[in-house]
Structure formats: C-alpha cells, structure tokens
C-alpha cells in the first residue's frame, strides 16, 4: 500500500474499472486534451490532471474529449448509460450544472421511475466543487444539496483519498446515476490507499472520531477540519464523534441519530450555502427524530448566504474554518 493523492486515487479507480469492464468510458472537456492538435496528445488529462494517462492506455474510443457543450455530452452520457455503456462524464466545475441540469435531473435521474422501473442508468458525473481556490463565484460553489434534492440521483462527497477510490469504484459499479463531487482543494491530499480495487458502500456513514460529548456531522472537505477541531478540543477534555456521511443521497440517518442519542449535542459542518443545505436537512431530521436526546440547540457551521467571493481575505472569511467549528462545539458544550 502506498501513499496516493486524492487525484491519483480517483484516477486509479477509473483506470481499474476501465480495465475490468470494457463498457466503462470516460468523457469530458480536455479529459485527454490536444486532440488533433500539433502538440502533445493527452496534453492535460483533465483540467487538473485527474484523467491523465487514461487516453494513452485506453485510446480515444474510450476516453472521449468533448466540445465545450455540457448539455450535449452530459445528455449523451445519460443516453449511453441507458443503452449499455457505463460512462464516467466529467462536468468540469459543478457550477456549470446550470447549462446541463436538465440532462441530469429531468432525464438521467428520472428514467427509472418514469419508465416504470425498466431503465437502468449506470452514469457517473464527476464534478469539482468547493471554495478555497480563489476561483470566485462561478467556479467555487458546493451545490450538492441541489442534487441531493432530486429523487433518482445518488450524491457522493469523498472526504479523503482512501474514501475517493472506494467510493468511485462503487459509483462506477452502481446501476443508478451518481453525482461524484471532488473538492478541488483536496486533489493533492495524500494518504495510504490500497493498490487493489475496493468498494465503499453508499449510505453508510464513517465515524472518523468517536467521543461522548458532541456529535459533529461534516461533509467532504469539512471532515478533515472537523477532525482537527475534535483533536484540538480533546486536549481540553471535550470528546467528539465526527460523522462523515460519505453520501448525502442515500443519507445514513440511522448513524447520525444514534450518535446524537449518545452525545446529546450536534454540530453540523456544511460548506454549502446555508439555506436548504445538508445542515438544515439534518437539523430537521434530528428535531423530528431525536428531539428528546438534545441537551443543547443544534449548531450549524456554514458560510453566509452570499456567492463565493474572490478576494482571499473575503474567501477565507467565507469558508467554515477549524476555529469556527471549535467555537460551535464549545457553544453546544456550554449548555
């Protein structure tokens, strides 16, 4: 087992599934890059290099570059999935869902239900999300609550390289449409990742810390920050359970409720804008199902309800930080 980056873990997963299953194809803008240009083939391997090396190994028939035409190729991926392929399509930035959302939520996400259970749509849409890259309002959003809202879609938020590989292989093998969200700030994070293929089931939360006082539910990149906050507070005698739900759809509500029952206090860390996000969703769940267990009001750590700003000082103030998470945890401990 070697240390691998988040980027390499995802590349590994796709590559191993392409080797294992000839129906797996990859498509997206510059997934190889340089097609029929005078310079290098596989010039980019994706805008941040995640699919680098796949085209030389599998050829242009299975690693398809696309025009900048998200409606057409995301729709094509949906159509291909319904007719025998297992496409992994890259929507470069999740912010671009605006130009192709119909193909995801009205087409791919509804085929099975509209067609009376007779359609199988094994589509993976990979997409980059999140703030912290100084990429400003149109390249920094989270938006996963929107996908989570749509019945028929599964939504995955891997929080580390190990998680990313296992969840990606699961996504490719899954027969339902999956939105796989990669946090752009995490691509160079490294940890031990098995060389072998492995899958992590959807809908099973991971407990990255176990404690008695506070349950912290965090998503994607926020899991690492929540762990750091929990470790820092441990030294002050506050022990936290950190729950990484891994997937927002399906959502492991059982584990969240069990942890809240055990600790009686809940902090939810969600990088998505604060109205109708995962934090509000889980707050409602806990208010409904575990109200009696609460010793303190639920605290949500989310950005303000603004677009993501550009200036580094503003963006840093926007993103939930370890310090804000610690403050929220101390806040619920005060009750």
């Amino acid at each position: 087992m070697a240390k691998k980056s988040y980027r390499q873990a995802i590349n590994d997963a796709i590559r191993q599934e392409m080797l294992a299953d000839p129906r797996v194809v990859v498509m997206g803008e510059d997934n190889a890059g340089g097609i029929e240009a005078p310079g290098e083939d596989d010039a980019w391997g994706g805008v941040l290099g995640v699919t680098k090396g796949l085209m030389p190994e599998f050829g242009r028939e299975r690693v398809l570059d696309t025009p900048i035409s998200e409606s057409a190729f995301i729709g094509a991926a949906a159509g291909a999935a319904a007719t025998g392929l297992r496409p992994v399509a890259e929507l470069m930035f999740v912010d671009f869902m605006g130009v192709c959302f119909d193909q995801i939520f009205n087409q791919a996400g509804k085929f099975r239900y509209m067609f009376g259970g007779k359609a199988v749509t094994p589509l993976v849409v990979r997409t980059m999300y999140g703030a912290g890259f100084r990429a400003a309002s149109q390249h920094s959003q989270c938006l996963y609550p929107i996908f989570t809202h749509v019945p028929g879609l599964k939504v995955v938020l891997p929080s580390s390289p190990y998680e990313a590989k296992g969840l990606m292989i699961q996504a490719i093998r899954d027969d339902d449409p999956v939105i796989f969200l990669e946090h752009k700030v995490m691509y160079d994070d490294e940890e031990d990742v098995p060389d072998e293929s492995y899958t992590i089931p959807f809908g099973e939360a991971n407990l990255t810390r176990e404690g008695d006082d506070v349950t912290v539910v965090a998503f994607g990149r926020m899991v690492g920050l929540a762990n750091a906050a929990a470790d820092a507070l441990e030294k002050d005698g506050i022990s936290c359970t950190v729950v990484d739900p891994r997937t927002t759809s399906p959502l492991d509500t059982d584990t969240i409720l069990e942890c809240v029952e055990e600790t009686g206090r809940l902090v939810i860390v969600d990088e998505a804008s604060p109205r109708c996000n995962m934090a509000t969703d889980i707050s409602a769940l806990v208010a409904q199902e575990a109200f009696g267990a609460l010793k303190a009001p639920v605290r949500m750590v989310s950005p303000p309800h603004t677009p993501v700003p550009f200036a580094p000082e503003l963006e840093d103030a926007y993103i939930p930080s370890q310090a804000k998470i610690e403050t929220a945890i101390r806040g619920v401990m005060a009750h």
Binding site: M1, Y162, G166, P194, E196, S197, Y198, T199, I200, P201, E204, N206, L207, E210, E234, T255
Partner: protein, 371 residues
Amino acid sequence: MMGRIEPIVMPKWGLAMTEGTVVGWEAGEGDRVDQGQDILEIETTKITNVFEAPAGGTLRRQVVHEGDTVPVGALLGVLADDEVSDEEIDSFVSGFVVEADDGEAAGEGAPEPRKAEAGGRTLRYLEMGAGEGTPVLLVHGFGADLNAWMFVQPTLAEGRRTVALDLPGHGGSQKDVGAGTPESMADTLSAFMDEVGLERAHVVAHSLGGAVALALASAKPDRVSGLTLIAPAGLGDEINHEFITGFIEAGRRKEMKPVLGLLVADPSLVSRDMIEDVLKAKRIDGAEEALRTVAAANFAGGRQAVLLRDALAGLSCPVEIAWGEADRILPASHAEGLPEAVRVRRMADVGHMPHMEAAGEVTRLILAGLE
C-alpha cells in the same frame, strides 16, 4: 539490576502507531516492580493493551498521567534503584530527549511490508530483525493479517529474523485461495519459505494458521524447527459458527463490532480503528469470496472439517500451545488430551487473541520455546 536509571517510553505497536494514550497506571510511585510485570495500560487507535515493565526496579516517577496522549518514544515514567536520588531522577526527566521515530522521519529503518511470489500467488509479508537466533515465521488466523503480530514481532525480532505473512486471500496477499484447505495453504507456505530464503523456521501460528502450521510440520518436518500454536484450529470439531458467518457477512461497522467482540475476553477492547481496518480488508475485491472459500473448506456447517490431532502426535519437533480460557471461537478444551510432549499454557481472562490480549506472556512463551 540495570544501569541505575531505566526509562519507560511509549512503545510503537504496529506500523501505523504514532502516539498512545495512558489509560491508567497499575503500579504506583514507590512500588517495586519485576521485569515483565504489568505496569500501565496504553490505548492506541487500534487497541488497548497492557504495557510491561522493561526491567525490574522501583517505579520512581510517573511522568505522564491517566488520559495523557504522547508520541511514540516519549518518556512515560522512570524506574530506578532506591539509592538513586530524587535530584538525579529530576535531571533525567528534564534532560530526556524523545528519539525521532525513524520510520516516520527518514522513511528507512522502519520495515515496510514486501511482496513475494509463491505457489503462483503474490503474498505480502513483513520482515523484521536479523541475527543468529532461530528464525521465526508468523502465521495469522482466519480473516486477519500480518498486523495481528504487531505486539509480538518487534520483541521477537531482537536477535533473529522474523517474517510475518498474509495468508492467501488475506491482507495484502492475492485473493485466490485455491482449495483453501490447511494442506493447500501449507504448500503455499513452504513455497513462500523457499522464496524468502527461510530454510527452516520456528513457526508461530494462530487459529486457522495453527492448522496450516500443523499441516506444514507434518508434510515437511525438515522446514519446521518448532511450533508455538495459539488457539489453533484442527484440534477439535467445535467452532463458533456465528463468528465465522458473522465475519463474512458483516459489511458495515455496526454489524462488525459485535462480531469482533467475540474475539476477545473484553469486547470494549474493540476500537473504531480496529473495526475500520477489518472492513478495509474485507472491501478489497475478492476478499469476501476468499473468506467464503476458506470457511467452506474448513468450517462448513459450523464444524471443523480438518482434524490434525494425529498429525500433532506424529511430530518430532517441540510444540507449545497457548489458549485463552475465555476463548469464544475455539474452546480451550481443545487443548486437553494432547500428547505429553506438547506443553500447554492456558491463560485466564484471555479470549481468542492471546497474542494481542496478553502479548507479553505470549512473547515470553515463544522465546522460551525457541531455546
């Protein structure tokens, strides 16, 4: 006794351990302790275990206290003769420098698992130590891997070569287990010994690995200089069917936790990380199928299919057996009625994992068997 002042430092149990938490001291300041006596309990993310006094003497100082978390190599306490002054102890404590964990810092020195081809399969193994001492081969049980020996292997490695491997289908080894019987795995084991240049070794084996070791010693007596078998399979037909099927079926943390609890006398020892490590191993493609094949070949219908009492009786090498009285997987009664030459150690309040639950005692037993 020793060089007047003997530090007690945070041990490194397993490759992944970087720090540990003191659960509590079992010896108080001023108490006389013997070498090997349990003096404090340490919790890592993997497991909680008792730490034994590295030497005899008086426990003069507890440097870290209950609940403190410190890095590997940090000073936990001080043992010294009574004539050493408090001032000397103070200056020893204040002058103590934590040695860099060379495995972390330099990336060399700390052993890393390697791969070998044996019997047409790729097997993962971890080698530690060198020297003139009898080499030791460590063989884990059903569903485990070479990390099972994390508390035992470092000590055994002082003065001898030790090799712990992952059986076929387990850990980082290839998932094809072939027939999955003790005999077929013993064939793989001897091919592995050829490959890593272990002509003859003392084999330490646990549970299913015990049956494999017995099959090996029986088929290739010249390869085995002695056996230490820990709760070995093959000495009776009972086995906890609930454990075997539960271990295979459990895909989720919540399902796996009670299953792993069956392994040890005190289920609270089962940590979040231990569960996660087991699940990680099981998630690898082919791992579950491999376990099913092995279980079907050895424990079909909840009974042990392969009985090796005769094989044991026919061995000429020395054999020691350790068994926890509280074993809920293979009953300790299987240690009864064995040939007289076989030395049996039954351990009170220990479950199916003596090499983890009572690592010090098991290590001493192995070392005694090597002499």
